[in-house]
Subunit: 319 residues, 2 copies
């Protein structure tokens, strides 16, 4: 299961207000970067903000590469000749040279040899391709797909399939997860990506996976030690047949468990400080809360209902 | 059918960018007040913004009542002794005296003799009760319920029930509408209100109406000649049996029509400038677009998908 969150769980998030209601707890936890947004230097391309860079990181590590980066006026941007460069590969290559030096110095860790698109909006062509391990230091917006796999029971109730992440995974080991979720690579539609991930992660046949319904998106802005993680997750609902049982295909999931939605509500009400791995991976909670809102399990009688709905898609972050 | 929008249709909204995509057209049309928000004076109660007042209206008509209103520092608030007053009725009565004078002078028209709660948030107790006709001049946030009545056809497709507003209605006469929609009075839950409105407006029995599922909320901020209309609409989905036919009970609907969702999509893509009354009442479009997003009829392949999702609930307006 490809993770859409890079970094260790729990990292720098232990200051969530203990008085918050259970659902707002996860929204606050995933959005602990929003309050600090203006302590970061915007990373701009041709005047559009495409990311956020820790100011110390910019001074210590980007100013040393004046052929690639310009840090002034409180912002980080590419050298003018790189901005003006017509060829995406050529521009990306020039930036990559600086990033490789930072890798060799041990500043950027966890190199993946995977290029990540830097976008001005989801539908626009990339303005830069950047090594994924580096992109997190630049607070680049990332996209993912999350699938709510549910079963309509004969008695009128509803179950959800929940995955348990493998203990061996570098990110969020052992935490609960969606039946299918993954990062959104460039050059494939979210819907095609869902079909691909369904097969790779849970053994869901193409014909069934194609029945997944796009139902919206959630977004958040998390702060980690290395910087900001700004994600938009395309949400899908997949109604599964009663007899369907997912299969852990790629070894990234230890097991799957089917539970009544009422129990899922109880799981989402748990805090990681008390329940550790018996909680969903942080960002999954937002997608599950969105599911619970759309299916009426969280309703106007739930305290803070409108705050919850607003919190799932904080304004400017969803673009 | 109680309207959640006060004012004439089309009022001051003819400047929507003609290049906008069909769905963004309605979002922009309903949110034509957002861009002008800072040209209004915030109406504050004990430091919390509860409304917005046209600055000319404040100078011309509120400053004349120093016993009720204070206009300074760019904001409008109640006289300090009214803010400090413990009794809601007493406070409201003092304000009402000024508003009655404005009614008698012909400044405030369309008096309804219906008190509207002024709220700091939906769940907080009202801080003031204000005549509904007056509240629109104060840009008070209003709440409503809208019900998407749909049928799952045997062939796997989906139909929606659409109402045609009576030609005699003072607001939005003849436009298309939800099967059930209404303002949200104080002191009754949105869900109970849905059941009540279902019976009053479409002859939907209590047992069936209680199956309406709360599915979220949309919000918008519209500018009219008298000021800002800031609404939050609680959205419900009601799956109706194939054989069900709504009945126009209270004379506010001319007729109901059942149409395939694909045709509803075509209706929402229409602009009022070209199609006049063969379009939904402005705010219904937002609720229908939200329905289309949640049910996958608008998906990530739709241009501007994330802008649409964000536009249905503009940040701070949903509280």
């Amino acid at each position: 299961m490809a993770s859409t969150v890079v970094g260790a769980s729990g990292d720098s998030r232990d200051d969530v207000d203990p008085a918050l209601s259970p659902f707002m707890y996860w929204i606050a936890r995933c959005n602990n970067g929003l309050a600090n947004l203006d302590t970061y230097a915007p990373f701009r391309f041709q005047g559009t903000t495409v990311g956020y860079v820790d100011r110390t990181f910019a001074v210590d590590h980007l100013e040393r590469f004046p052929d690639a980066f310009v840090c002034d006026g409180g912002e980080v941007r590419l050298q003018q000749c790189l901005e003006d460069m017509k060829d995406l590969e050529e521009r990306s290559c020039a930036v990559q040279q600086a990033l490789l030096r930072l890798r060799d110095e041990g500043v950027i860790t966890g190199w993946r040899d995977e290029l990540y698109p830097v976008l001005t909006s989801f539908e626009a062509p990339p303005v830069l391709l950047m090594e994924r391990a580096a992109s997190v230091y630049f607070g680049i917006k990332a996209y993912g797909v999350h699938v709510n796999g549910y079963v309509e029971r004969e008695d009128g109730g509803m179950d959800m399939w929940v995955a348990r992440r493998a203990k061996s995974k570098p990110t969020w080991p052992g935490r609960l997860d969606h039946i299918v979720a993954g990062g959104q690579p460039h050059g494939i539609s979210p819907t095609d990506n869902v079909v691909k991930e369904c097969g790779e992660e849970a053994g869901i046949a193409k014909e069934l996976a194609e029945k997944a319904v796009p139902v919206g998106a959630v977004s958040y802005c998390s702060e980690y030690s290395y910087g900001l993680k700004r994600d938009v997750l395309f949400c899908y609902d997949l109604k599964l047949p009663d007899e369907f049982v997912p299969v852990a295909v790629d070894g990234e999931v230890d097991d799957f468990c089917r539970m009544p939605v009422e129990r899922v509500v109880d799981v989402v009400k748990r805090r990681v400080e008390e329940h550790g791995n018996d909680t969903y991976k942080d960002n999954c909670n937002l997608v599950v809360i969105d599911f619970l809102v759309r299916h009426g399990f969280i309703g106007p009688e739930t305290p803070g209902y409108l705050d919850i709905i607003r919190g799932l898609r904080p304004g400017q972050e969803l673009c």
